[in-house]
Subunit: 498 residues, 2 copies
């Protein structure tokens, strides 16, 4: 058995080497790779994706899984986690016919182009036939994996956050709705918005880099084991804890945009940089789930970055790093300007209060699609109605409505809810953290070491050893509980707008 | 047989995918990868090197080679070339014990560190024990590959340039010596050097990029299928003809350094970008040899870039791209300043006239080492004597002498001569090109299209289909002939200095 375990780990170690290569190539693709090389890169990326896919379902893998099945109870936690992850992938990838996977991949490649065109031309009809096929094929693929009595959408939800179901999300979003919709009404009815014109002050890219990189390092990102550059869409990319990169984009008339995007990606990056050495060369070295990852990015971006205490601290640093800018702006002005809440149409530009409402719209629509309650052709109408109901505004066209996100063109159903989930996790962690340290006081002092050490000790160091539910229970002593998150939003935004 | 050939090509195609990944990761390593990730990268690079190595000697590979052996005469040229290359690698990699390869790799890793320290401290004794082992193990490895009556050094020469032998190189360098040493004496005795102080004029990096990128594109480098950035040592990196990158370094008080380094790397890059589409997805898509590659880089850097006609043309462009710089400098002044010849100690800083003398010193020393005529301990003395003999100067220490190059610490014996060889090839090509087009007139007009098209048609498009000897014969109707090169150097430098 010792030998089998060793061989199993070596096999997974080889998969991890391929994934490291994929990570480096993916970073290269998204930053500097020449446009004209796209076809050769697509072939190469397909080759490596196929290579890794085959390793998840090989005879060798089957041999390991069969041999280990009866031993699971005796394995140490990391090895058990490796088995669990490998087994889940094996089951998933062997149940769906390879031909169907190939068809789906071709379909989404075409659908992506159609979606781009449809969004450009506000032409939902152009995208609809592709989306219909994507939904149909998604259902077909899920069908192969369904267990007795299981709901198809639950399979997808579990793919992006292990253990999550419609039952849990339904209750979760109901609580958010109950709190956020009335708070948003309070905001709107208050009729007031902070003065924020100063945020458009010109700040040269080089200066934005200075203050953003400083802040990233200050909260715990290690630039010696990383690299920050530009790309069209900001992202974090980690191949190993000693090499975790991120990107941002700069608008010289919107300094705060790159600043918060770097704080956000730093959350992801700190997570990946802080896995413990024991598992840093294994497949467990990644963050456990989408939700946990998002909990970290939103914690650093919002809970820290948009707090009053943080602005009290960082406004002083701005004087050092940008001595010519924002000369007469107080911390309180910054705090209020970076926490404007208002109904809006575009998810990625939404404020902290309304963000989860955007997510909820998408969750409810996906739920109905996979419940056969609506069809793809109904989407624009359903979408607009839900925006009216929750946010009180109606998109003037589909480009600003149902066509705004890339996710469905990729066939990524079940992904959206993790964005809201992560934010709720973060509030649960904060409640626990405050039992141990005076988080608010530390933030106001610009002393983030104990805060990040707490997150590392409870979350980062464990990589993927535990399931999200196990880790949440370990940290908080309870399961998902939206109350912390709703209380946080209510307290913060009623404070700002009443 | 059709099926075997198809499978063989698919197998090599898979190797090529790994090599593409290696190229991208290597570029990343040398440009942006964080320093602290060096250990994880070393493991990953080792993994992929091992992966490709194993594919060259696998049972599957043996099966292909055995099956194709009797068919070689019937294969088309590209397939025959694939067989030839795969067979050569198979033979080489199976004959040397794997354990010895591993030992050698560990030894050179340590030797590299020792060499850096030795160079830093001018302490040859510190490096000597490592170099002794490297020479001993190189001889041992070569021993496994020796055929009846073959000289060990010929194996190494052939590794870097297929078909080359001591017999050919001896005659080659004898001719160079006969011409260059007297021409250099003429230069020294003339007692004159052009005025070149203006070359140290400050030119901001951004301006250097403008004129260098312009020149690179002008001579035929396609930036749409490439990318230029900075690194410690300039290099060219191609993963596919649609993605061929290069690097340089900028010294704002030495504009000409980055300018020529980009012209040089452009020669390599144009070669890699110009392979024909039929073989661009195969292992034949790389330039055929070190010598042929160097012929292209030196052709664009020296034959074009340091010609009088080029300066007549580019001096005009400088007025557009660097309107504030070099205001009163004539083309003739540029031409003379960029063609200063003088005895010097450091190979990488040597001028066009003396460069091959530096190479010759190394060739003769390697030849003696592998002939057991000298031992590693004799190197400093032998080195210094040869510099005195050919260049008329003696290194004041070993840092500026025998310790200057990295190559021997890597165990790369037989590599140096290809640098001189490539330069001689270039002169042979020029003689042929001039039969077809008026090269000098085109250069003076800044019209490089027909020149690069000639090189592409004769050389680039063929990738690795032909051996160096075959291709040289095809183009020039004869084998290596140093006369063109010596005539070129004699004509140019006697013209400049008499």
């Amino acid at each position: 058995m010792e030998q089998i375990i060793q061989d199993f780990k070596a096999y997974l170690g080889e998969m991890r080497m391929f994934r490291q290569a994929q990570a480096i190539m993916s970073f290269d693709d998204s930053t500097i790779a020449p446009k004209a090389g796209v076809a050769a890169r697509a072939r190469r990326n397909g080759f490596f994706a196929q290579k890794v896919f085959k390793m998840t379902i090989s005879e060798e893998m089957k041999g390991f899984l069969d041999a280990l099945e009866s031993e699971v109870g005796n394995l140490d936690a990391p090895t058990a986690a490796m088995y669990r992850i490998a087994k889940k992938n094996y089951d998933k990838n062997t149940k769906i016919p390879v031909e169907l996977v190939r068809e789906f991949s071709e379909l989404t490649a075409k659908a992506h182009v159609a979606w781009e065109q449809a969004r450009e031309n506000d032409d939902f009809e152009h995208f609809a036939p592709y989306l219909e096929q994507i939904v149909a094929k998604s259902k077909e693929m899920v069908g192969y994996r369904l267990k007795e009595g299981q709901h198809p959408y639950n399979i997808l939800l579990d793919d992006f956050e292990e253990g999550m179901t419609m039952e849990i999300y339904d209750e979760f979003f109901a609580k958010l709705r109950e709190t956020i919709v009335p708070v948003l009404k309070t905001v709107v009815n208050s009729g007031k918005q902070p003065e924020a014109g100063f945020m458009r002050e010109f700040v040269p890219k080089a200066d934005q880099e200075k203050i953003s990189f400083f802040a990233a390092e200050k909260i715990g990102y290690d630039l010696e084991r990383g690299y920050i550059t530009e790309s069209t869409h900001p992202f974090c990319n980690g191949s190993h804890k000693t090499d975790v990169r991120m990107t941002t984009r700069y608008d010289e008339n919107d300094f705060i945009s790159s600043f918060y995007s770097i704080l956000h990606e730093s959350g992801h990056a700190i997570y990946e940089q802080s896995v413990c050495d024991e598992i840093s060369d294994t497949i467990l070295s990644r963050g456990i789930s989408m939700g946990f990852h998002e909990s970290q990015s939103r914690f650093y971006e919002n809970v820290i970055g948009r707090s009053r205490g943080f602005w009290e601290y960082i406004a002083e640093e701005l004087k050092t790093y940008l001595p010519e800018s924002f000369k007469d702006i107080t911390p309180e002005q910054f705090y209020r300007a970076t926490n404007q809440a208002r109904p809006s149409l575009i998810r990625v530009e939404a404020d902290e209060l309304t963000y989860s409402l955007h997510i909820m719209v998408r969750y409810e629509i996906e739920r109905m699609l996979f419940n056969d309650e609506i069809s793809v052709r109904d989407l624009p109408e359903v979408w607009n109605k839900k925006y009216e109901e929750y946010l009180g505004i109606t998109p003037p066209n589909n480009t600003l409505g149902v066509l705004q996100d890339i996710h469905w063109s990729m066939g990524a159903f079940g992904y959206f809810p993790t964005y809201a989930l992560g934010t709720a996790y973060a509030s649960q962690f904060v409640a626990q953290m405050k039992k141990d340290i005076d988080m608010d006081a530390l933030i106001a002092k610009g002393d983030f070491a104990a805060i990040t050490a707490w997150m590392t000790g409870k979350i980062h160091r464990h990589g993927s050893i535990y399931t999200p539910a196990e880790l949440l229970k370990q940290i908080c002593g309870e399961q998902l509980n939206a109350d912390y998150y709703t209380a946080y939003l209510k307290g913060k935004f009623e404070g700002l707008y009443s």
